[in-house]
């Protein structure tokens, strides 16, 4: 048995893939995150809930709004609050724009693997970056910034959009939707696929799936008490030495390893049944279109003259859980506040913690040179995954 260590590129953050193989097939794979642990859960203790939201958004610069929304939901649960209808819709739109941002970014990173022709890769890269900028401009107007949108707050959203902002957002979303049709069609055209992607399409994997909502997140559609967290060496006692290097942890739902993310959402809430490994990426492509359509729908029904934030905010003791469908899957934030309303406990369980065992399992079905590609297709997020507090 030979060993190969690959430092993964074109994924979010620093990670290594330890691959044990016999030359033809991967026998064992270990996905090891190597980024430092900034320790947001410990950092949050004693802080004001307003700082907690800002800190939570800085867990990740790619799925920032997802963390902001999950954290706001957890704080609202702890304080017995709910955002008004228009605030909830606006928050959903901000979250969906973040999901589109993240998906477009990953689609751009996978282009080099996806297509045979270099010219096509370059043409699509430019198109994706242009559309990503349009989404960033919309998010700047609706959320306050393209990264870590500061309008997300406890009880709703800080500022209502003006009619001009709504018009700007709708016009730009319509052009992105139009442009994205071509990108989508090319991704589904199997004749244009590279040999590596063709090989990935020959392998199927159908684990258990978890999703709480197609577009937002719902703590009542999942059971947060079923979430269990392990260190890497607890999860893989057969690789204790390698596991010690890992700064990420692993999560299980009940006794199961589960897949979360775009494919899980489409399997649970839509009639999606592509269980090939490439199906994860194709689900991501389909989700961009769905999210663009849903955001346009929200902008049509939202009444900007209605209240967008809960009228009163009284800080007190409480416990809450926020569940949100981040770009990479179901995200859990657990918050406990003390009698002064300051943070007593904070725990985050991110989608990548659920997906790491699935990535390793998927790699075991492939030749060694394709293992890094499967990690990229699953889109792990290392800044998010470097957290560990027992739940």
């Amino acid at each position: 048995m030979s060993q190969k260590i690959v430092e993964l590129t074109r994924i979010a953050g620093d990670a290594k893939f330890y691959i044990f193989h016999d030359g033809k097939r991967v026998l064992r794979a270990h996905f090891i995150a190597t980024a430092p642990v900034r320790g947001f859960e410990k950092l949050a203790i004693g802080k004001h809930p307003l700082l907690l939201i800002e800190a939570a958004m800085r867990v990740c610069g790619i799925c920032h709004a997802a963390h902001g929304i999950a954290c706001s939901e957890a704080l609202e649960h702890a304080l017995g609050l709910a955002p008004p209808f228009a605030g909830r819709l606006l928050r959903e739109a901000i979250g969906l724009l973040n999901r589109i941002q993240s998906h477009l970014f990953v689609i751009a990173l996978v282009l080099g693997d996806m297509f045979k022709k270099k010219e096509l890769q370059r043409e699509l890269l430019l198109k994706i970056v242009q559309n990503l900028e349009k989404i960033n401009r919309i998010l700047t107007r609706l959320g306050g910034a393209p990264t870590h949108p500061p309008y997300l707050t406890i009880g709703g959203v800080l500022r209502p959009p003006t009619p001009q902002v709504i018009k700007f957002a709708k016009d730009n979303l319509a052009t992105v939707l139009n442009d994205f049709q071509k990108i989508k069609d090319l991704h589904f055209d199997e004749d244009k696929w590279s040999e590596r992607i063709e090989k990935l399409a020959e392998v199927k994997l159908s684990p258990k799936f978890l999703a709480s909502h197609p577009f937002y997140g719902d703590r009542y559609n999942v059971n947060p008490t079923q979430v269990k967290v392990f260190t890497y060496d607890e999860y893989r006692p057969d690789a204790k030495e390698i596991g010690k290097e890992s700064s990420a942890c692993i999560a299980k739902y009940g006794n199961n390893f589960i897949e979360v993310g775009p494919r899980a959402r489409l399997v649970v809430y839509r009639d999606f049944n592509d269980y090939r490994l490439i199906g994860v990426h194709l689900a991501r492509i389909l989700e961009v279109e769905l999210c663009l359509e849903r955001t346009l729908e929200i902008l049509d029904i939202i009444d900007i003259h209605e209240s967008i934030r809960a009228p009163e905010l009284t800080l007190h003791e409480g416990k809450g859980v926020g569940v949100y469908e981040a770009p990479r899957g179901t995200l859990f934030h657990f918050v406990e506040l003390d009698s002064m309303g300051r943070v007593k406990n904070f725990k985050v369980v991110v989608p990548t913690m659920f997906n790491i065992p699935i990535i390793e399992k998927a790699a075991e079905k492939l030749p060694p040179d394709l293992a890094p590609l499967v990690a990229r297709i699953y889109d792990p997020c290392i800044p998010c995954a470097t957290h560990f507090i027992k739940v």
Binding site: V6, E7, T9, R10, A12, G13, D14, T34, A35, P36, V37, R38, G39, E41, K42, L43, K47, H48, L50, L51, E54, A55, R58, V59, C60, G61, I62, H64, F105, L109, G112, L126, V129, L132, E133, N136, G144, A145, P146, T147, H148, P150, Y151, L158, T231, Y232, S246, S247, A248, C249, P372, P383, T386, H387, F388, I389
Partner: protein
């Protein structure tokens, strides 16, 4: 105009600054070749470069991060701290460690505590337009426009909204232009009767407001020039 080789080395931040660089890719490619973990096929290595942008604060308890930073210093003609974490420590200045699986990761510092840097661009994250302007100034040799980035790189003490209040607002230098409120990435500054008020609970110590303030930035540049003069 000679094409530059530009590299991004990340020390383990949130990736927001790396994404900002990626967003600026079409414009950056006019100045030179850009290499980051997002652009290479496999195994990203730091090679000799004209400009290396370092993102993320350095974890003083992580030997790998310190080695990576020193390697970036050795390979770069010009080393730039990009983003508030690399420049001032930012939100990671609140880190207190004790969190599994690496409880020893306790202290996160600005990269200038470990290596010498030529320029610093704060922001959480800095927008692509700032990065592109910086590169344009650099390649066209516009020293005057680069002074502020140099002055920030030479600071020994990190900046925050509290410093803005002390140095500009409370001392009566504020002209009420609102640049600080527009630049604050957490909306921690609001303008009340043309005077900035800091919502202290929301300040993440990124220092963006201080550098964007027309008065505070003048102070930074003047102090920097005086420091240079006294040294010579």
């Amino acid at each position: 105009m000679k094409r530059m080789k530009i590299i991004n080395v990340d020390l383990g931040g949130c990736e927001g600054c790396c994404v900002s660089l990626f967003r600026a890719l079409p414009q950056i490619s006019q100045f030179g070749d850009f290499i980051s973990r997002y652009t290479v096929e496999e195994n990203f290595e730091i090679s000799d470069a004209d400009v290396i942008f370092v993102t993320g604060s350095v974890c003083m308890n992580d030997p790998h991060a310190i080695e990576l930073l020193k390697e970036a210093r050795n390979k770069a003609k010009i080393l730039v701290a990009l983003g508030s974490c690399a420049v001032f420590g930012g939100i990671t200045r609140f880190s207190r460690g004790g969190q599994m699986p690496k409880p020893e990761h306790r202290i996160f510092s600005p990269i200038s505590r470990v290596v010498t840097i030529e320029y610093a661009i704060p922001g959480c994250p800095p927008p692509p337009v700032t990065i592109v302007s910086f590169l344009r100034f650099l390649i066209t040799g516009r020293e005057q426009q680069l002074l502020l980035f140099k002055a920030v790189a030479s600071l020994e003490k990190p900046l925050s909204g509290f410093d803005l209040l002390d140095d500009v607002v409370f001392s009566g230098l504020c002209i009420g232009c609102g640049a600080c409120t527009l630049s604050c990435p957490t909306q921690a500054l609001i303008l009340i009767e043309r005077r900035p008020e800091l919502i202290v609970e929301k300040c993440i110590r990124c220092g963006t407001c201080y550098v964007r303030c027309p008065r505070a930035s003048q102070l930074l540049v003047r102090r920097y020039l005086e420091k240079i003069k006294s040294k010579s």
